[in-house]
Structures are given as C-alpha cells and as structure tokens.
C-alpha cells in the first residue's frame, strides 16, 4: 500500500491541467534570482505573474492542506476502475514518473547552489532545511516506486478498493504531499524572500507531520540517503557536551 500511495506523485501531474505547468517550476524559480537583471521587460512581467500565481495557489493549498488532499486523492484513486482505464493509468503513471525524476535531477543541482550561497544571499536557513527535507522525502518515494515493474503497478491499481483507501488514507495524503514537492519548494523559496512566516511555519508543520512517518517506514533508505550514520563523533564528544551543558545551565541559574 505504501508505494501505491507514492504513485500519487506520478498521477498528481494530471489532476489539473495547469499543474503540468507548475511541475516545470524549479528551473523557472531558479531563474527568479536574476530574472530582474537578465530578462527583457515583457518577459519579466510575464514571468513574474506566472511565479506569483503559483505562489498564491500553493499558499492556499498549504493553508487548507487537509481539505485539499482529501479532494485530490479521491480524484486520483477511484475505486472500481474500468478495465479499459487501467492500462491508460499505468502508462500515465510511468510517463509522469519519468518526467518527475528528471525534474529532481535538476532540483538536486539547484539545492546545492543554494546551499553554497544561502548565507550570503538573504535566504532564511529554515527554508533551505525544509526544501532539503522535502527533497529527501521525494527521493525516497521515487526510488521505491521505480523498483516496481509494470505488472506490479497493474496489480496495485487493480487492488484499489474503497476499504483500502480508507485504511490507508494517511499514506495517500503523504503521497499527495510528496507529489506537490516541486510546486511547494519553489513557492517556499519565494516565501523566504518575502518573509511570509505564515507560509513557512505551515510548511514546517506539514514536514514535521510526514517526514518522521516516511523515515520510520523506510529507515534504511533514509539513513542511506542522508548519510547520517557516517558522522560519528564518539562518546568523548558526548561527555564534553554533557559537562558543557551542565555549566551552561548552572550559569543560567546564577543569572
């Protein structure tokens, strides 16, 4: 059931015609930083309104995420799909996944550029951290779906029933959330620039809700992806940390 929910990533592209444009966003937003300098006036105006529209839309989605995800996954996963439709759906999912994973390659480069410059640029570090976390989520999800063959996907789509949807509704929402990654991350960067703390904190809440859920269930993938187990400082570092914390707390008591 879990990879099945991640397939929402593949299908999310088709839930709304305009989203197809949104999915292309990371590269557009990447240009936003020098858009004012490099592009012509006409182009700039068009791009700006484009970016603005995506930002307003994703803010609306973010603030009413529960309602939105409920609607979306009902659209994506309809129980009792006709046989004719199944093949079409499988093809759609596979094509969309290809597109999405190519976007992620680009996003990877994009994130590293931010990371090197984010302290000199006025980007809020939490924006970077959130983007990175969402990106890790998406990578884990894409890899888990990619392992499936066409037959596996066919089986999963066939087995969708109203009961299975109800039982796994939380996972389906996770799938929708991950699928929205390119739109959300792009808008998050803008929110950071605009100091839109409402946006950033609601985003933080969603990541806080879904990241532990995925990292718990894909613990090996998560550790591998983040290389957490590589950075071992040892028990001596811990002892020094503890003694410093004690001194620090003592100082606070004296204040």
């Amino acid at each position: 059931m879990i990879p099945e929910s991640f397939m929402a990533m593949g299908t999310s592209v088709s839930f709304n015609k305009t989203t197809r444009n949104f999915i292309k966003f990371p590269s557009e937003i990447r240009k936003k930083f020098d858009v004012y300098l490099k592009t012509r006036v006409k182009d700039r105006a068009r791009k700006f309104s484009y970016i603005n529209e995506a930002y307003t839309n994703s803010k609306n989605i973010l603030l009413n995420f529960d309602n939105f995800s409920d609607k979306i996954f009902k659209q994506i996963f309809k129980p009792k799909i006709k046989k004719r439709e199944i093949k079409k759906i499988v093809k759609n999912i596979q094509n969309n996944l290809k597109e999405v994973s190519e976007e992620y390659k680009e996003l990877d480069i994009w994130l590293t550029t931010i990371h090197e410059s984010f302290l000199s640029e006025p980007i809020n570090p939490i924006v970077y951290f959130l983007a990175k976390k969402h990106y890790i989520l998406a990578k884990i999800a894409i890899n888990s779906v990619k392992k499936l063959s066409e037959d596996d996907i066919l089986k999963i789509v066939k087995s969708i029933s109203e009961k299975s949807l109800k039982e796994n509704s939380e996972w389906l929402i996770v799938g929708v959330f991950i699928g929205l990654e390119p739109i959300f991350v792009s808008s998050l960067i803008i929110a950071g620039g605009r100091r839109d703390y409402d946006f950033i904190s609601s985003y933080n809440n969603l990541i806080n809700r879904y990241l532990p859920l995925v990292s718990r269930n894909f613990i090996e993938d998560f550790l591998k992806e983040t290389e957490i187990s590589k950075n071992i400082y040892g028990i001596d570092a811990y002892h020094k940390f503890v003694s410093e914390l004690q001194v620090d707390r003592h100082e606070r008591c004296l204040l």
């Binding site: 532990p212 718990r216 950075n231 071992i232 400082y233």
Partner: protein, 176 residues
C-alpha cells in the same frame, strides 16, 4: 506506535555517537521519537559557543547545523504552543510545591532541573508514553506521595539512563 521523548543529553548522545543498536535508539521502528524546540535550542546553544572544536570536531557551525537538521528527520518535533507548555509546567511545579519543599530541594540540587521539567511537560502534551532522561533526580517523582498528586495525561514511565554511559538503563520510574 509509542511516543518516546528524548531529553537534551540523550538526544545529543544519539546525534554524536549514532548508537543505533541501543534499544531506545530513534531508529527503532516500534517507537515514534519526539523532541521539542527547547531540546534543539539547548543543543544549538552549546554548539554555537564554538566549544565543539575542542571536542576534536574540525567543522564549521553550518556543517554541524545541517547534519543536525537531517538527523531531526528521524524525530517529530513536539508541536506545542508556548502558552500550553507554560500551563502544564506551572501545574507541575505547583503540584510539586504542594508535596515537597521545592525551594530547599532545588537549592540543594535534589530536584530535576527546570529545563528537564519543561521537557517533561512538552512530552506529556504530545502524548508520549515514555520520557528518556539522564537526570537521576527524576526518581523523586516516583515516590508515592508525589505520584498520587501528579496528573499526567500520557507519560507513564520515566527511564533514567547512566549519564556517563547512556547505553545503560539505571532505573524505570513509574509515575502513574
């Protein structure tokens, strides 16, 4: 899944040593590990003082901060409002003051640190069953007269680990 709350020392133990074979490691799939903003703040404060360079770590603050943030992906942050924490913490201090001579005990350092009480309050709000700490003084909450007064919503046990060697469990304190 059982919610498990890590205090600052235990959180930093797992961050610094990556002891994932520990039975209460944050990678254990049976638990849902929690920390709060205050734990993160205490950790960052020590790191920000720059003293980690004396620990044999040759890195910039930014690198450690980034590692910390990815490590936090294993945890859920106790998402509570400051005002709720304040209500629960003051309730706790009030009850302890009723049963014990709080001022005297605090001055003689026989009471848990106020920051640890704050962590405990946060863990109760987010419905964790277990509270992991290295603070031995939490034993005091297990005594019968205190336990009878305490009104914890969800925390059932406080697990006290050896501060020098957190792989060793010293005591389980039932508080319900």
């Amino acid at each position: 899944m059982k919610g498990v709350f890590y205090d600052t020392n235990l959180f930093s133990y797992f961050f610094l040593t990556k002891d994932f074979d520990h039975p209460y490691s944050p990678t254990n799939k049976d638990f849902l590990p929690y920390i709060s903003l205050f734990v993160e703040e205490e950790f960052l404060h020590v790191v920000l003082k720059g003293s980690y360079k004396n620990w044999g770590i040759n890195k910039k603050f930014l690198d450690i901060w980034k590692e910390l943030q990815t490590f936090l992906g294993l945890f859920r942050e106790a998402n509570t409002s400051i005002s709720t924490i304040k209500v629960v913490l003051f309730d706790l201090i009030g009850i302890l003051n009723q049963t014990l001579n709080l001022e005297l005990l605090y001055r003689r350092r026989k009471m848990p640190d106020i920051m640890d009480l704050l962590h405990l309050s946060a863990s109760d709000i987010v419905e964790c069953e277990l509270f992991l700490t290295t603070d031995k003084k939490f034993e005091i909450l297990g005594s019968q007269n205190v336990k009878n007064k305490l009104m914890f919503k969800s925390v059932k046990k406080i697990l006290i680990f050896d501060i020098d060697n957190p792989s060793k469990l010293l005591k389980e304190v039932d508080i319900q």
